[in-house]
Symmetry: C3
Subunit: 209 residues, 3 copies
Protein backbone atom coordinates (compact mmCIF):
# COMPACT_ATOMS: atom_id res chain seq x y z
CA UNK A 1 0.00 0.00 0.00
CA UNK A 2 1.53 3.35 -1.06
CA UNK A 3 1.50 6.24 1.45
CA UNK A 4 -1.22 8.00 -0.60
CA UNK A 5 -3.41 4.92 -0.52
CA UNK A 6 -2.79 4.57 3.19
CA UNK A 7 -3.85 8.19 3.82
CA UNK A 8 -6.94 7.70 1.68
CA UNK A 9 -7.96 4.55 3.59
CA UNK A 10 -7.35 6.31 6.90
CA UNK A 11 -9.45 9.29 5.73
CA UNK A 12 -12.34 6.98 4.95
CA UNK A 13 -12.01 5.22 8.32
CA UNK A 14 -12.02 8.62 10.04
CA UNK A 15 -15.11 9.68 8.07
CA UNK A 16 -16.82 6.46 9.11
CA UNK A 17 -16.10 7.16 12.79
CA UNK A 18 -17.25 10.78 12.58
CA UNK A 19 -20.42 9.74 10.69
CA UNK A 20 -21.16 7.08 13.29
CA UNK A 21 -21.09 9.65 16.08
CA UNK A 22 -23.55 11.77 14.05
CA UNK A 23 -25.88 8.83 13.39
CA UNK A 24 -25.83 7.79 17.05
CA UNK A 25 -26.65 11.34 18.11
CA UNK A 26 -29.59 11.37 15.66
CA UNK A 27 -30.90 8.10 17.06
CA UNK A 28 -30.53 9.34 20.64
CA UNK A 29 -32.55 12.41 19.53
CA UNK A 30 -35.31 10.13 18.13
CA UNK A 31 -34.73 11.48 14.62
CA UNK A 32 -36.03 9.59 11.60
CA UNK A 33 -33.88 8.09 8.86
CA UNK A 34 -33.55 11.51 7.19
CA UNK A 35 -32.12 12.97 10.38
CA UNK A 36 -29.77 10.01 10.72
CA UNK A 37 -28.41 10.48 7.19
CA UNK A 38 -28.12 14.27 7.48
CA UNK A 39 -26.31 14.10 10.82
CA UNK A 40 -23.98 11.36 9.57
CA UNK A 41 -23.03 13.39 6.47
CA UNK A 42 -22.80 16.70 8.32
CA UNK A 43 -20.66 15.36 11.16
CA UNK A 44 -18.31 13.59 8.77
CA UNK A 45 -17.95 16.31 6.14
CA UNK A 46 -19.04 19.60 7.76
CA UNK A 47 -15.62 20.65 8.99
CA UNK A 48 -13.92 20.10 5.64
CA UNK A 49 -16.71 21.86 3.76
CA UNK A 50 -16.39 24.89 6.08
CA UNK A 51 -12.61 24.95 5.40
CA UNK A 52 -13.02 24.67 1.62
CA UNK A 53 -15.78 27.29 1.46
CA UNK A 54 -13.50 29.68 3.39
CA UNK A 55 -10.36 29.08 1.32
CA UNK A 56 -12.43 29.10 -1.88
CA UNK A 57 -11.86 25.50 -3.02
CA UNK A 58 -14.90 24.85 -5.22
CA UNK A 59 -16.42 22.37 -5.09
CA UNK A 60 -15.24 21.28 -1.62
CA UNK A 61 -13.25 18.04 -1.44
CA UNK A 62 -16.32 16.34 0.05
CA UNK A 63 -18.11 16.89 -3.27
CA UNK A 64 -15.26 15.74 -5.52
CA UNK A 65 -14.98 12.07 -4.60
CA UNK A 66 -18.28 10.16 -4.34
CA UNK A 67 -16.77 7.83 -1.71
CA UNK A 68 -16.60 10.78 0.70
CA UNK A 69 -20.41 10.93 0.49
CA UNK A 70 -20.96 7.17 0.32
CA UNK A 71 -18.99 6.26 3.46
CA UNK A 72 -21.21 8.36 5.78
CA UNK A 73 -24.25 6.84 4.05
CA UNK A 74 -22.89 3.37 4.85
CA UNK A 75 -22.18 4.42 8.43
CA UNK A 76 -25.75 5.76 8.69
CA UNK A 77 -27.18 2.49 7.34
CA UNK A 78 -25.07 0.31 9.65
CA UNK A 79 -25.99 2.45 12.64
CA UNK A 80 -29.66 2.49 11.61
CA UNK A 81 -29.85 -1.31 11.77
CA UNK A 82 -27.27 -2.11 14.44
CA UNK A 83 -27.14 0.91 16.72
CA UNK A 84 -27.32 -1.01 20.00
CA UNK A 85 -24.28 -2.99 18.89
CA UNK A 86 -22.56 0.16 17.53
CA UNK A 87 -23.20 2.01 20.79
CA UNK A 88 -21.62 -0.92 22.66
CA UNK A 89 -18.51 -0.53 20.46
CA UNK A 90 -18.07 2.85 22.20
CA UNK A 91 -14.35 2.52 22.75
CA UNK A 92 -13.64 1.43 19.18
CA UNK A 93 -15.61 4.40 17.84
CA UNK A 94 -13.68 6.74 20.15
CA UNK A 95 -10.36 5.32 18.93
CA UNK A 96 -11.26 5.74 15.26
CA UNK A 97 -12.67 9.19 16.07
CA UNK A 98 -9.34 10.12 17.66
CA UNK A 99 -7.64 8.83 14.51
CA UNK A 100 -9.90 11.06 12.40
CA UNK A 101 -9.14 14.01 14.68
CA UNK A 102 -5.40 13.62 14.11
CA UNK A 103 -5.63 12.99 10.39
CA UNK A 104 -8.08 15.80 9.59
CA UNK A 105 -6.15 18.28 11.73
CA UNK A 106 -3.02 17.60 9.66
CA UNK A 107 -4.66 17.48 6.19
CA UNK A 108 -6.80 20.54 6.96
CA UNK A 109 -3.83 22.60 8.13
CA UNK A 110 -1.75 21.58 5.10
CA UNK A 111 -4.57 22.42 2.66
CA UNK A 112 -4.95 25.89 4.18
CA UNK A 113 -1.17 26.48 3.98
CA UNK A 114 -1.13 25.19 0.39
CA UNK A 115 -3.88 27.73 -0.39
CA UNK A 116 -1.48 30.48 0.70
CA UNK A 117 -2.96 31.28 4.09
CA UNK A 118 -0.79 32.37 7.01
CA UNK A 119 0.16 30.13 9.92
CA UNK A 120 -2.43 31.32 12.43
CA UNK A 121 -5.17 31.14 9.78
CA UNK A 122 -4.10 27.63 8.79
CA UNK A 123 -4.07 26.47 12.41
CA UNK A 124 -7.65 27.75 12.87
CA UNK A 125 -8.79 26.06 9.65
CA UNK A 126 -6.99 22.83 10.54
CA UNK A 127 -8.83 22.68 13.85
CA UNK A 128 -12.08 23.67 12.08
CA UNK A 129 -11.64 20.77 9.66
CA UNK A 130 -11.26 18.32 12.53
CA UNK A 131 -13.88 19.62 14.97
CA UNK A 132 -16.35 21.63 12.85
CA UNK A 133 -18.53 18.68 11.89
CA UNK A 134 -19.11 17.75 15.53
CA UNK A 135 -20.22 21.28 16.38
CA UNK A 136 -22.68 21.29 13.44
CA UNK A 137 -23.94 17.87 14.61
CA UNK A 138 -24.67 19.27 18.07
CA UNK A 139 -26.34 22.42 16.70
CA UNK A 140 -28.63 20.35 14.44
CA UNK A 141 -29.48 18.00 17.31
CA UNK A 142 -30.06 20.94 19.67
CA UNK A 143 -27.36 19.85 22.08
CA UNK A 144 -24.86 22.09 23.84
CA UNK A 145 -21.74 21.63 21.68
CA UNK A 146 -19.72 18.90 23.39
CA UNK A 147 -16.57 20.73 22.27
CA UNK A 148 -17.36 23.61 24.64
CA UNK A 149 -18.24 21.65 27.77
CA UNK A 150 -15.99 21.66 30.81
CA UNK A 151 -17.05 18.07 31.51
CA UNK A 152 -15.83 16.73 28.14
CA UNK A 153 -12.27 15.56 27.64
CA UNK A 154 -9.75 17.55 25.59
CA UNK A 155 -10.57 17.47 21.88
CA UNK A 156 -9.82 20.86 20.29
CA UNK A 157 -6.68 21.38 22.39
CA UNK A 158 -4.75 18.37 21.00
CA UNK A 159 -5.94 19.38 17.54
CA UNK A 160 -4.70 22.96 18.00
CA UNK A 161 -1.29 21.82 19.25
CA UNK A 162 -0.98 19.40 16.32
CA UNK A 163 -1.97 22.13 13.86
CA UNK A 164 0.66 24.47 15.30
CA UNK A 165 3.33 21.75 14.94
CA UNK A 166 2.32 21.21 11.30
CA UNK A 167 2.24 24.93 10.50
CA UNK A 168 5.67 25.54 12.04
CA UNK A 169 7.13 22.51 10.27
CA UNK A 170 5.58 23.58 6.93
CA UNK A 171 6.91 27.12 7.18
CA UNK A 172 10.34 25.88 8.19
CA UNK A 173 10.37 23.79 5.05
CA UNK A 174 10.83 20.46 6.84
CA UNK A 175 7.27 19.12 6.73
CA UNK A 176 8.22 15.69 5.46
CA UNK A 177 5.56 13.03 5.25
CA UNK A 178 7.10 11.50 8.36
CA UNK A 179 6.67 14.75 10.30
CA UNK A 180 3.03 15.05 9.19
CA UNK A 181 2.36 11.46 10.21
CA UNK A 182 4.05 12.12 13.55
CA UNK A 183 1.82 15.14 14.18
CA UNK A 184 -1.31 13.11 13.37
CA UNK A 185 -0.24 10.33 15.72
CA UNK A 186 0.57 12.90 18.40
CA UNK A 187 -2.92 14.47 18.17
CA UNK A 188 -4.67 11.09 18.26
CA UNK A 189 -2.60 9.81 21.18
CA UNK A 190 -3.00 13.04 23.13
CA UNK A 191 -6.79 12.83 22.63
CA UNK A 192 -6.89 9.21 23.77
CA UNK A 193 -4.69 10.00 26.77
CA UNK A 194 -7.06 12.85 27.69
CA UNK A 195 -10.00 10.46 27.47
CA UNK A 196 -8.21 7.85 29.55
CA UNK A 197 -6.95 10.23 32.23
CA UNK A 198 -10.00 12.54 32.21
CA UNK A 199 -8.06 15.66 31.16
CA UNK A 200 -10.37 18.60 30.60
CA UNK A 201 -10.04 22.26 29.66
CA UNK A 202 -10.87 24.76 32.40
CA UNK A 203 -13.80 27.17 32.41
CA UNK A 204 -13.06 30.84 33.07
CA UNK A 205 -10.89 31.09 36.16
CA UNK A 206 -12.48 33.94 38.01
CA UNK A 207 -15.72 31.92 38.14
CA UNK A 208 -14.34 30.05 41.10
CA UNK A 209 -13.20 33.09 43.04
CA UNK B 1 -46.38 32.75 -21.12
CA UNK B 2 -43.10 31.14 -22.24
CA UNK B 3 -41.75 28.15 -20.29
CA UNK B 4 -38.98 30.33 -18.82
CA UNK B 5 -41.49 32.88 -17.60
CA UNK B 6 -43.64 30.10 -16.17
CA UNK B 7 -40.67 28.66 -14.24
CA UNK B 8 -39.78 32.13 -12.97
CA UNK B 9 -43.32 32.75 -11.74
CA UNK B 10 -43.42 29.33 -10.09
CA UNK B 11 -40.06 30.03 -8.41
CA UNK B 12 -41.41 33.24 -6.92
CA UNK B 13 -44.60 31.48 -5.75
CA UNK B 14 -42.44 28.79 -4.12
CA UNK B 15 -40.27 31.44 -2.44
CA UNK B 16 -43.42 33.11 -1.13
CA UNK B 17 -44.64 29.83 0.40
CA UNK B 18 -41.24 29.03 1.97
CA UNK B 19 -40.96 32.60 3.32
CA UNK B 20 -44.44 32.40 4.80
CA UNK B 21 -43.54 29.28 6.76
CA UNK B 22 -40.49 31.15 8.11
CA UNK B 23 -42.51 34.23 9.06
CA UNK B 24 -45.17 32.12 10.79
CA UNK B 25 -42.49 30.28 12.76
CA UNK B 26 -41.02 33.63 13.84
CA UNK B 27 -44.41 34.85 15.00
CA UNK B 28 -45.07 31.60 16.88
CA UNK B 29 -41.67 32.16 18.55
CA UNK B 30 -42.70 35.71 19.60
CA UNK B 31 -39.91 37.22 17.50
CA UNK B 32 -40.02 40.89 16.55
CA UNK B 33 -40.21 42.26 13.02
CA UNK B 34 -36.47 41.71 12.55
CA UNK B 35 -36.84 38.03 13.37
CA UNK B 36 -39.84 37.76 11.03
CA UNK B 37 -37.88 39.24 8.13
CA UNK B 38 -34.72 37.21 8.81
CA UNK B 39 -36.64 33.93 9.09
CA UNK B 40 -38.67 34.69 5.95
CA UNK B 41 -35.52 35.41 3.93
CA UNK B 42 -33.52 32.52 5.41
CA UNK B 43 -36.24 29.93 4.91
CA UNK B 44 -36.88 31.04 1.34
CA UNK B 45 -33.29 31.46 0.19
CA UNK B 46 -31.09 29.50 2.61
CA UNK B 47 -31.09 26.23 0.68
CA UNK B 48 -30.14 27.85 -2.61
CA UNK B 49 -27.43 29.95 -1.00
CA UNK B 50 -25.91 26.82 0.59
CA UNK B 51 -25.90 25.13 -2.83
CA UNK B 52 -24.32 28.11 -4.60
CA UNK B 53 -21.69 28.62 -1.91
CA UNK B 54 -20.74 24.93 -2.24
CA UNK B 55 -20.58 24.86 -6.05
CA UNK B 56 -18.85 28.25 -6.08
CA UNK B 57 -21.52 30.31 -7.89
CA UNK B 58 -20.72 33.85 -6.73
CA UNK B 59 -22.80 35.72 -5.92
CA UNK B 60 -25.53 33.12 -5.23
CA UNK B 61 -28.65 33.30 -7.41
CA UNK B 62 -30.53 34.76 -4.44
CA UNK B 63 -28.31 37.84 -4.66
CA UNK B 64 -28.52 38.31 -8.44
CA UNK B 65 -32.19 39.12 -8.90
CA UNK B 66 -33.67 41.66 -6.45
CA UNK B 67 -37.08 39.99 -6.73
CA UNK B 68 -35.67 36.92 -4.97
CA UNK B 69 -35.06 39.16 -1.93
CA UNK B 70 -38.21 41.26 -2.33
CA UNK B 71 -40.70 38.36 -2.44
CA UNK B 72 -39.75 37.09 1.04
CA UNK B 73 -39.96 40.69 2.30
CA UNK B 74 -43.50 40.89 0.90
CA UNK B 75 -44.36 37.54 2.47
CA UNK B 76 -42.97 38.79 5.79
CA UNK B 77 -45.04 41.98 5.58
CA UNK B 78 -48.24 40.14 4.65
CA UNK B 79 -47.71 37.63 7.47
CA UNK B 80 -46.84 40.42 9.91
CA UNK B 81 -50.21 42.09 9.38
CA UNK B 82 -52.45 39.13 8.53
CA UNK B 83 -50.91 36.13 10.27
CA UNK B 84 -54.13 34.82 11.80
CA UNK B 85 -55.62 34.72 8.31
CA UNK B 86 -52.38 33.31 6.81
CA UNK B 87 -52.27 30.60 9.48
CA UNK B 88 -55.85 29.69 8.60
CA UNK B 89 -54.78 29.28 4.96
CA UNK B 90 -52.69 26.34 6.21
CA UNK B 91 -53.60 23.97 3.40
CA UNK B 92 -52.93 26.54 0.66
CA UNK B 93 -49.51 27.28 2.17
CA UNK B 94 -48.74 23.54 2.31
CA UNK B 95 -49.73 23.12 -1.35
CA UNK B 96 -47.52 26.01 -2.50
CA UNK B 97 -44.75 24.73 -0.23
CA UNK B 98 -45.02 21.30 -1.90
CA UNK B 99 -44.80 23.10 -5.24
CA UNK B 100 -41.65 24.86 -4.09
CA UNK B 101 -40.23 21.54 -2.88
CA UNK B 102 -40.65 19.99 -6.33
CA UNK B 103 -39.41 22.98 -8.27
CA UNK B 104 -36.35 23.68 -6.13
CA UNK B 105 -35.38 20.02 -6.06
CA UNK B 106 -35.28 19.98 -9.86
CA UNK B 107 -33.60 23.36 -10.42
CA UNK B 108 -31.08 22.69 -7.62
CA UNK B 109 -30.12 19.29 -9.02
CA UNK B 110 -29.76 20.66 -12.56
CA UNK B 111 -27.62 23.59 -11.39
CA UNK B 112 -25.27 21.20 -9.57
CA UNK B 113 -25.02 18.95 -12.63
CA UNK B 114 -24.44 21.98 -14.87
CA UNK B 115 -21.60 22.97 -12.53
CA UNK B 116 -19.95 19.64 -13.34
CA UNK B 117 -20.71 17.75 -10.14
CA UNK B 118 -21.36 14.02 -10.12
CA UNK B 119 -24.78 12.44 -9.79
CA UNK B 120 -24.68 11.66 -6.07
CA UNK B 121 -23.31 15.12 -5.29
CA UNK B 122 -26.03 16.75 -7.43
CA UNK B 123 -28.75 14.74 -5.70
CA UNK B 124 -27.51 15.89 -2.30
CA UNK B 125 -27.33 19.52 -3.44
CA UNK B 126 -30.77 19.31 -5.08
CA UNK B 127 -32.27 18.12 -1.81
CA UNK B 128 -30.26 20.75 0.08
CA UNK B 129 -31.69 23.47 -2.18
CA UNK B 130 -35.23 22.34 -1.43
CA UNK B 131 -35.00 21.55 2.29
CA UNK B 132 -31.99 23.55 3.57
CA UNK B 133 -33.91 26.75 4.24
CA UNK B 134 -36.38 24.96 6.48
CA UNK B 135 -33.59 23.45 8.56
CA UNK B 136 -31.95 26.87 8.98
CA UNK B 137 -35.37 28.29 9.96
CA UNK B 138 -35.73 25.68 12.70
CA UNK B 139 -32.16 26.18 13.97
CA UNK B 140 -32.67 29.97 14.21
CA UNK B 141 -36.02 29.50 15.97
CA UNK B 142 -34.49 26.88 18.32
CA UNK B 143 -36.87 24.16 17.19
CA UNK B 144 -35.99 20.54 16.54
CA UNK B 145 -35.68 20.46 12.73
CA UNK B 146 -39.07 19.33 11.45
CA UNK B 147 -37.23 17.52 8.65
CA UNK B 148 -35.78 15.04 11.16
CA UNK B 149 -38.88 14.23 13.16
CA UNK B 150 -40.57 10.84 12.96
CA UNK B 151 -43.91 12.56 13.48
CA UNK B 152 -43.61 14.81 10.39
CA UNK B 153 -44.74 13.63 6.97
CA UNK B 154 -42.25 12.74 4.22
CA UNK B 155 -40.48 15.81 2.87
CA UNK B 156 -36.84 15.00 2.09
CA UNK B 157 -37.69 11.53 0.76
CA UNK B 158 -39.85 12.72 -2.18
CA UNK B 159 -37.21 15.37 -2.85
CA UNK B 160 -34.42 12.75 -2.92
CA UNK B 161 -36.34 10.46 -5.26
CA UNK B 162 -37.09 13.38 -7.58
CA UNK B 163 -33.46 14.46 -7.54
CA UNK B 164 -32.34 10.91 -8.44
CA UNK B 165 -34.80 10.86 -11.38
CA UNK B 166 -33.45 14.21 -12.61
CA UNK B 167 -29.81 13.15 -12.23
CA UNK B 168 -30.34 9.89 -14.09
CA UNK B 169 -32.29 11.62 -16.87
CA UNK B 170 -29.63 14.34 -17.15
CA UNK B 171 -26.76 11.85 -17.41
CA UNK B 172 -28.69 9.77 -19.92
CA UNK B 173 -29.03 12.87 -22.08
CA UNK B 174 -32.84 12.85 -22.12
CA UNK B 175 -33.60 15.50 -19.53
CA UNK B 176 -36.06 17.39 -21.70
CA UNK B 177 -38.04 20.24 -20.17
CA UNK B 178 -41.01 17.87 -20.06
CA UNK B 179 -39.06 15.32 -18.01
CA UNK B 180 -37.90 18.01 -15.58
CA UNK B 181 -41.47 19.27 -15.20
CA UNK B 182 -42.63 15.71 -14.65
CA UNK B 183 -40.07 15.18 -11.89
CA UNK B 184 -41.15 18.41 -10.17
CA UNK B 185 -44.81 17.39 -10.36
CA UNK B 186 -43.90 13.94 -9.03
CA UNK B 187 -42.09 15.39 -6.00
CA UNK B 188 -44.92 17.81 -5.20
CA UNK B 189 -47.63 15.16 -5.59
CA UNK B 190 -45.69 12.62 -3.53
CA UNK B 191 -45.27 15.20 -0.76
CA UNK B 192 -48.97 16.07 -0.80
CA UNK B 193 -49.93 12.38 -0.81
CA UNK B 194 -47.63 11.82 2.18
CA UNK B 195 -49.31 14.72 3.99
CA UNK B 196 -52.77 13.38 3.13
CA UNK B 197 -52.09 9.77 4.03
CA UNK B 198 -49.78 10.49 6.97
CA UNK B 199 -46.73 8.75 5.46
CA UNK B 200 -43.66 9.13 7.64
CA UNK B 201 -40.06 7.99 7.60
CA UNK B 202 -39.10 5.48 10.28
CA UNK B 203 -36.72 6.05 13.14
CA UNK B 204 -33.88 3.57 13.65
CA UNK B 205 -35.35 0.09 13.60
CA UNK B 206 -33.60 -1.54 16.46
CA UNK B 207 -35.10 1.09 18.78
CA UNK B 208 -38.29 -0.95 18.85
CA UNK B 209 -36.65 -4.25 19.56
CA UNK C 1 -3.19 59.29 12.05
CA UNK C 2 -4.38 58.91 8.44
CA UNK C 3 -8.07 58.12 7.79
CA UNK C 4 -7.12 54.58 6.75
CA UNK C 5 -5.23 54.02 9.98
CA UNK C 6 -8.14 55.47 11.93
CA UNK C 7 -10.60 53.06 10.25
CA UNK C 8 -8.26 50.15 10.93
CA UNK C 9 -7.94 51.03 14.60
CA UNK C 10 -11.71 51.46 14.89
CA UNK C 11 -12.24 48.08 13.20
CA UNK C 12 -9.99 46.39 15.75
CA UNK C 13 -11.77 48.14 18.63
CA UNK C 14 -15.12 46.98 17.20
CA UNK C 15 -13.81 43.41 16.87
CA UNK C 16 -12.67 43.55 20.49
CA UNK C 17 -16.14 44.62 21.64
CA UNK C 18 -17.91 41.95 19.55
CA UNK C 19 -15.47 39.29 20.77
CA UNK C 20 -16.00 40.33 24.38
CA UNK C 21 -19.75 39.81 24.06
CA UNK C 22 -19.06 36.34 22.67
CA UNK C 23 -16.62 35.46 25.45
CA UNK C 24 -19.01 36.69 28.14
CA UNK C 25 -21.83 34.62 26.63
CA UNK C 26 -19.56 31.54 26.68
CA UNK C 27 -18.71 32.13 30.34
CA UNK C 28 -22.37 32.63 31.26
CA UNK C 29 -23.03 29.29 29.48
CA UNK C 30 -20.31 27.59 31.60
CA UNK C 31 -18.27 26.79 28.49
CA UNK C 32 -14.61 25.88 28.79
CA UNK C 33 -11.71 27.84 27.34
CA UNK C 34 -12.33 26.30 23.91
CA UNK C 35 -15.91 27.58 23.91
CA UNK C 36 -14.73 31.00 25.05
CA UNK C 37 -12.24 31.27 22.18
CA UNK C 38 -14.66 29.90 19.56
CA UNK C 39 -17.47 32.24 20.61
CA UNK C 40 -15.12 35.24 20.74
CA UNK C 41 -13.83 34.54 17.21
CA UNK C 42 -17.26 33.66 15.79
CA UNK C 43 -19.02 36.69 17.24
CA UNK C 44 -16.29 39.04 16.06
CA UNK C 45 -15.73 37.63 12.59
CA UNK C 46 -18.80 35.55 11.68
CA UNK C 47 -20.74 38.34 9.98
CA UNK C 48 -17.87 39.39 7.75
CA UNK C 49 -17.06 35.78 6.85
CA UNK C 50 -20.70 35.20 5.84
CA UNK C 51 -20.54 38.32 3.64
CA UNK C 52 -17.26 37.34 1.99
CA UNK C 53 -18.35 33.74 1.40
CA UNK C 54 -21.50 35.07 -0.31
CA UNK C 55 -19.78 37.65 -2.51
CA UNK C 56 -16.96 35.20 -3.25
CA UNK C 57 -14.06 37.06 -1.65
CA UNK C 58 -11.59 34.22 -0.95
CA UNK C 59 -10.14 34.02 1.56
CA UNK C 60 -12.46 36.23 3.65
CA UNK C 61 -10.98 39.44 5.04
CA UNK C 62 -10.93 37.79 8.49
CA UNK C 63 -8.33 35.33 7.18
CA UNK C 64 -6.12 37.87 5.40
CA UNK C 65 -4.82 39.93 8.31
CA UNK C 66 -3.63 37.93 11.35
CA UNK C 67 -4.60 40.81 13.66
CA UNK C 68 -8.28 40.14 12.85
CA UNK C 69 -7.81 36.70 14.43
CA UNK C 70 -5.48 37.84 17.22
CA UNK C 71 -7.70 40.60 18.61
CA UNK C 72 -10.59 38.21 19.45
CA UNK C 73 -8.01 35.87 21.04
CA UNK C 74 -6.83 38.75 23.21
CA UNK C 75 -10.43 39.63 24.07
CA UNK C 76 -11.04 35.97 24.99
CA UNK C 77 -7.94 35.89 27.21
CA UNK C 78 -8.80 39.15 28.96
CA UNK C 79 -12.37 38.01 29.54
CA UNK C 80 -11.18 34.57 30.70
CA UNK C 81 -9.14 36.12 33.51
CA UNK C 82 -11.12 39.29 34.28
CA UNK C 83 -14.72 38.53 33.36
CA UNK C 84 -16.27 39.89 36.56
CA UNK C 85 -14.54 43.19 35.87
CA UNK C 86 -15.39 43.03 32.14
CA UNK C 87 -19.04 42.32 32.94
CA UNK C 88 -19.06 45.36 35.21
CA UNK C 89 -17.79 47.46 32.28
CA UNK C 90 -21.17 46.70 30.66
CA UNK C 91 -21.81 50.23 29.41
CA UNK C 92 -18.34 50.60 27.90
CA UNK C 93 -18.75 47.29 26.06
CA UNK C 94 -22.16 48.41 24.75
CA UNK C 95 -20.69 51.69 23.50
CA UNK C 96 -17.83 49.96 21.67
CA UNK C 97 -20.30 47.37 20.36
CA UNK C 98 -22.46 50.21 18.98
CA UNK C 99 -19.33 51.64 17.37
CA UNK C 100 -18.65 48.25 15.77
CA UNK C 101 -22.26 48.06 14.59
CA UNK C 102 -21.95 51.38 12.78
CA UNK C 103 -18.53 50.72 11.32
CA UNK C 104 -19.23 47.17 10.11
CA UNK C 105 -22.57 48.20 8.62
CA UNK C 106 -20.81 50.80 6.48
CA UNK C 107 -17.75 48.76 5.48
CA UNK C 108 -19.90 45.68 4.77
CA UNK C 109 -22.31 47.59 2.56
CA UNK C 110 -19.47 49.25 0.65
CA UNK C 111 -17.67 45.92 0.10
CA UNK C 112 -20.84 44.37 -1.32
CA UNK C 113 -21.39 47.36 -3.64
CA UNK C 114 -17.73 47.27 -4.70
CA UNK C 115 -18.26 43.58 -5.57
CA UNK C 116 -20.93 44.67 -8.03
CA UNK C 117 -24.03 43.72 -6.05
CA UNK C 118 -27.24 45.72 -6.27
CA UNK C 119 -28.45 48.12 -3.61
CA UNK C 120 -30.91 45.82 -1.83
CA UNK C 121 -28.37 42.99 -1.84
CA UNK C 122 -25.69 45.28 -0.45
CA UNK C 123 -27.99 46.51 2.31
CA UNK C 124 -28.73 42.94 3.36
CA UNK C 125 -25.03 42.04 3.34
CA UNK C 126 -24.10 45.23 5.20
CA UNK C 127 -26.54 44.33 7.97
CA UNK C 128 -25.34 40.70 7.88
CA UNK C 129 -21.75 41.89 8.37
CA UNK C 130 -22.74 43.87 11.44
CA UNK C 131 -25.22 41.50 13.11
CA UNK C 132 -24.39 38.03 11.76
CA UNK C 133 -21.71 37.22 14.31
CA UNK C 134 -24.10 37.87 17.19
CA UNK C 135 -26.69 35.51 15.72
CA UNK C 136 -24.06 32.77 15.30
CA UNK C 137 -22.95 33.40 18.91
CA UNK C 138 -26.49 32.85 20.16
CA UNK C 139 -27.00 29.72 18.02
CA UNK C 140 -23.76 28.17 19.33
CA UNK C 141 -24.68 29.05 22.92
CA UNK C 142 -28.23 27.71 22.41
CA UNK C 143 -29.84 31.06 23.19
CA UNK C 144 -32.80 32.60 21.40
CA UNK C 145 -31.07 35.10 19.09
CA UNK C 146 -31.11 38.42 20.94
CA UNK C 147 -31.55 40.13 17.57
CA UNK C 148 -35.06 38.66 17.22
CA UNK C 149 -36.42 39.38 20.68
CA UNK C 150 -39.12 41.97 21.24
CA UNK C 151 -37.54 42.75 24.62
CA UNK C 152 -34.16 43.73 23.15
CA UNK C 153 -33.43 47.26 22.00
CA UNK C 154 -33.13 48.16 18.30
CA UNK C 155 -29.97 46.75 16.75
CA UNK C 156 -30.67 45.58 13.19
CA UNK C 157 -33.00 48.52 12.47
CA UNK C 158 -30.35 51.26 12.88
CA UNK C 159 -27.97 49.07 10.90
CA UNK C 160 -30.50 48.67 8.06
CA UNK C 161 -31.20 52.42 7.90
CA UNK C 162 -27.48 53.17 7.86
CA UNK C 163 -26.91 50.59 5.12
CA UNK C 164 -29.68 52.16 3.02
CA UNK C 165 -28.11 55.60 3.42
CA UNK C 166 -24.72 54.22 2.34
CA UNK C 167 -26.18 52.36 -0.67
CA UNK C 168 -28.11 55.39 -1.89
CA UNK C 169 -25.09 57.67 -1.45
CA UNK C 170 -22.81 55.18 -3.23
CA UNK C 171 -25.15 54.80 -6.21
CA UNK C 172 -25.62 58.56 -6.41
CA UNK C 173 -21.88 58.91 -6.68
CA UNK C 174 -21.50 61.08 -3.61
CA UNK C 175 -20.28 58.55 -1.04
CA UNK C 176 -17.39 60.64 0.19
CA UNK C 177 -15.43 59.44 3.21
CA UNK C 178 -17.25 62.09 5.22
CA UNK C 179 -20.65 60.66 4.22
CA UNK C 180 -19.56 57.14 5.14
CA UNK C 181 -18.28 58.34 8.49
CA UNK C 182 -21.54 60.21 9.03
CA UNK C 183 -23.56 57.05 8.33
CA UNK C 184 -21.45 55.04 10.80
CA UNK C 185 -21.88 57.69 13.48
CA UNK C 186 -25.63 57.79 12.74
CA UNK C 187 -25.99 54.01 13.21
CA UNK C 188 -23.96 53.98 16.44
CA UNK C 189 -25.83 56.96 17.90
CA UNK C 190 -29.23 55.56 16.92
CA UNK C 191 -28.32 52.26 18.58
CA UNK C 192 -27.18 54.00 21.77
CA UNK C 193 -30.31 56.17 21.81
CA UNK C 194 -32.44 53.04 21.43
CA UNK C 195 -30.61 51.46 24.37
CA UNK C 196 -31.02 54.59 26.48
CA UNK C 197 -34.69 55.18 25.66
CA UNK C 198 -35.69 51.52 25.50
CA UNK C 199 -36.77 51.60 21.84
CA UNK C 200 -37.76 48.18 20.57
CA UNK C 201 -39.10 46.68 17.37
CA UNK C 202 -42.68 45.40 17.51
CA UNK C 203 -43.77 41.78 17.21
CA UNK C 204 -46.47 40.92 14.67
CA UNK C 205 -49.33 43.33 15.16
CA UNK C 206 -52.32 41.07 14.89
CA UNK C 207 -50.98 39.07 17.85
CA UNK C 208 -52.47 41.68 20.15
CA UNK C 209 -55.86 41.81 18.51
Amino acid sequence: MSPDTAIYVLELVGLFAFATSGALMAIRSDFDVVGIVVLAETTALGGGVLRDVIIGAHPPAAFRDPLYLVIPLVAAAVTFFFHPQVARLGIAVLIFDAGGLGLYTVTGTVKALDAGLGMLQAVILGVTTAVGGGVLRDVLARQTPELFQTKSELYAVPSAIGAIIVAVAYQSGWLLPAAAAGAAVFVSSFRLLALWRGWRAPGAWAVRR
